[in-house]
């Protein structure tokens, strides 16, 4: 019933000829010291597994690797399809593939699912080896810094010293910034898209409403719902709220207006009357089928806690050691990560003399803009990355020259 509206929604992932094609998710479980993987919260995990995908080939110089880091609900499956029956390609298929901005004929593209997720990496729905049962709320809190340190183990495992780029939108941008600060020598460039150096008060507020919806669901059971019915209603509401923040007023009006869904007149009850209601319900239900409510709690918490300047006197000081070149992109209609927050990053970089490119791209799609086909975003990434790669090549030949 909601299908008509859903088809009307921007088609994020239309399969096309320049696709990476059939891909598969792989898993990496690093060998850890006896104390396990120590986390910023003071606790540790006895073992961790990261789900990841790679496309393209690592070149001989090992200087063409691009790490894509994903946002709240993302996963390792960035591009291509897992089976020919898949209805959708990976979540950023518009930018990853042969001839696309992250051109898999030139670059070796890696994407790792984050720690705390439910999409193949270790998270609250994973089995706690000590109890043999899912962690639930006994899973320790993980931070953006923890996620990045885990990714660094994967990058080591893949034999890469220095990444050509770390790129991410939204919470992916948090991780990309974290990479540049934590591992300055390992990152040649950062593409920070629709992101900020810390989560805004307003965004924390939306996260909290989402979490409260989950925790108020009687099926949540303090997080111990595995093997029973899951808190579907709560997680769906959380996702509906999220979706509102990802769109813009203009685009919502354009897509749905005040049009009614499959009816001519009001029902005069509380069934679905408006198309926008139908859209949000569909998004909520679709999300419940693929996402774990506890992971939603943990990951939104990690976003809330993120503040790149924490532990420093200022953001400028936090970014003092950055060696990567930066590309910072914002979108005009993004009110969840507005342009002034992007400029805050840019200014801290400028104050440190870091070569930085900043562009605000006109788009009416709100925060979602970075996931949608956007010629300008594509051109910006393509141009920026090509020059960084060229410069690295030039530096290398300068170093190796007699």
């Amino acid at each position: 019933m909601a299908q008509d509206v859903v088809h009307d929604v921007p088609e994020y992932f239309a399969p096309d000829e320049d696709s990476v094609g059939l891909v598969e998710t792989r898993y990496y479980t690093p060998e850890l010291p006896p104390e396990g993987f120590a986390l910023e919260c003071g606790r540790s995990l006895p073992s961790i597994t990261l789900a990841y995908e790679t496309y393209g080939e690592l070149n001989e110089a090992r200087d063409n690797a691009v790490l894509i880091v994903h946002a709240l609900s993302g996963d390792a499956h960035v591009a291509g399809v897992h089976s020919l029956e898949d209805r959708k390609a990976g979540w950023w298929d518009v930018t990853v593939g042969p001839g696309k901005p992250y051109d898999t004929t030139k670059y070796y593209v890696i994407c790792s699912n984050i720690l705390g997720s439910c999409r193949g990496s270790t998270g609250p729905s994973s089995i706690d080896p000590e109890t043999g049962k899912p962690y639930g709320l006994s899973f320790p809190m993980v931070t953006i810094g923890d996620m990045v340190r885990a990714q660094a183990l994967l990058v080591d495992h893949l034999g890469i010293d220095r990444l050509l780029a770390v790129t991410g939108g939204s919470m992916g941008g948090f991780q990309a910034l974290e990479w540049a600060v934590r591992y300055p020598h390992r990152v040649a460039s950062v593409h920070a898209i629709a992101t900020s150096a810390r989560l805004s008060t307003q965004a924390i507020a939306f996260d909290e409403v989402g979490r409260q919806a989950i925790m108020a669901d009687p099926d949540w059971l303090g997080g111990d719902y595995y093997g029973r019915s899951t808190p579907r209603a709560g997680l769906a509401i959380a996702r509906m709220i999220g979706h509102i923040t990802y769109l813009s007023e203009e685009q919502m009006h354009h897509k749905f207006g005040r049009r009614l869904q499959d009816r001519e007149s009001f029902s005069y009850d509380f069934r679905t009357d408006f198309q926008v209601e139908s859209y949000l319900k569909y998004q909520g239900d679709a999300f419940v089928a693929r996402f774990d409510a506890n992971s939603y709690l943990y990951i939104t918490r990690a976003m809330d806690y993120y503040d790149l300047s924490a532990g420093y006197h200022s953001l400028v000081e936090a970014m003092a050691g950055v060696q990567a070149e930066f590309l910072v992109v914002s979108f005009t209609s993004d009110w969840l990560f507005p342009t002034h927050q992007a400029i805050e990053i840019v200014r801290a970089l400028q104050a440190n003399g870091v070569p930085t490119t900043f562009i605000e791209i006109p788009s009416s799609y709100g925060h979602d803009s970075f996931l949608l086909p956007n010629q300008q975003l594509g051109d910006v990434i393509t141009g920026f990355l090509a020059h960084v790669h060229e410069r690295i090549g030039a530096d290398r030949s300068a170093v190796s020259a007699p």
Binding site: T356, I359, D379, F384
Partner: protein, 205 residues
């Protein structure tokens, strides 16, 4: 090159500006357009160039040329650079479009050791003649806009600019003068003869 005419008209002074830039300088170009000058300085003089540009179509061109660029207002774009963090700050044919020219110049000399400023000379004899004879606002290669479409809000003459420098303790270390299309002329009667002026200035001691 485009309807706005900017990159095309700027070529006139690029070569002369390039000659003023020392090798390997750290350069900031305000209103850098498509980034051509900075790309040229990087290639020919090994400069590290940065641009500020408000038009996102030009920003895209800068990115394609590999020029780091800030998309936004030039005053806003300069505020967070540290004092004297550039060897040189360039303002090419844009001074007359700024709302507070003196503040722009002072900010240029805060973030940079030297400023290079070029502007169309409103004292140029052709400009004076047009106004005198036809009684109309001048329109020519350097001033390509009609009075009601022009972004130029603070046009000045060579003499005006010199006086501004003198009154604000700004030292003119070099001056170059051009007539269209691209002929360099001496400084003799420059306020009459020059269509375009290029000044290199520093803060006075």
């Amino acid at each position: 090159m485009n309807a706005n005419g900017r990159p095309t008209k700027r070529r006139l002074d690029y070569e002369l500006i390039e000659a003023l830039v020392p090798n390997g300088a750290r350069v900031l170009d305000l209103g850098c357009g498509d980034g051509r000058l900075l790309a040229q300085l990087a290639q020919n003089k090994g400069c590290q160039g940065y641009g500020i540009e408000i038009n996102e179509r030009y920003v895209l061109e800068c990115i394609k040329r590999g020029v780091p660029v800030y998309h936004g207002d030039m005053m806003e774009g300069m505020t967070h650079y540290r004092d004297q963090s550039f060897d040189l700050v360039i303002l090419s044919q844009t001074l007359q479009q700024t709302h507070r020219p003196l503040e722009v110049i002072q900010e240029m000399l805060r973030v940079g050791k030297t400023a290079i400023i070029s502007f169309p000379n409103f004292g140029y004899w052709r400009v004076r003649l047009r106004l005198l004879i036809s009684g109309r606002m001048p329109v020519n290669d350097l001033l390509p806009y009609t009075w009601h479409t022009t972004p130029n809000v603070h046009l000045c003459t060579v003499t005006d600019f010199r006086e501004l420098c003198d009154a604000n303790n700004l030292v003119r270390t070099r001056a170059l003068f051009l007539v269209p299309p691209a002929r360099q002329i001496s400084r003799l009667l420059a306020n009459w003869r020059a269509g375009l002026a290029i000044f290199e200035i520093r803060r006075g001691g």
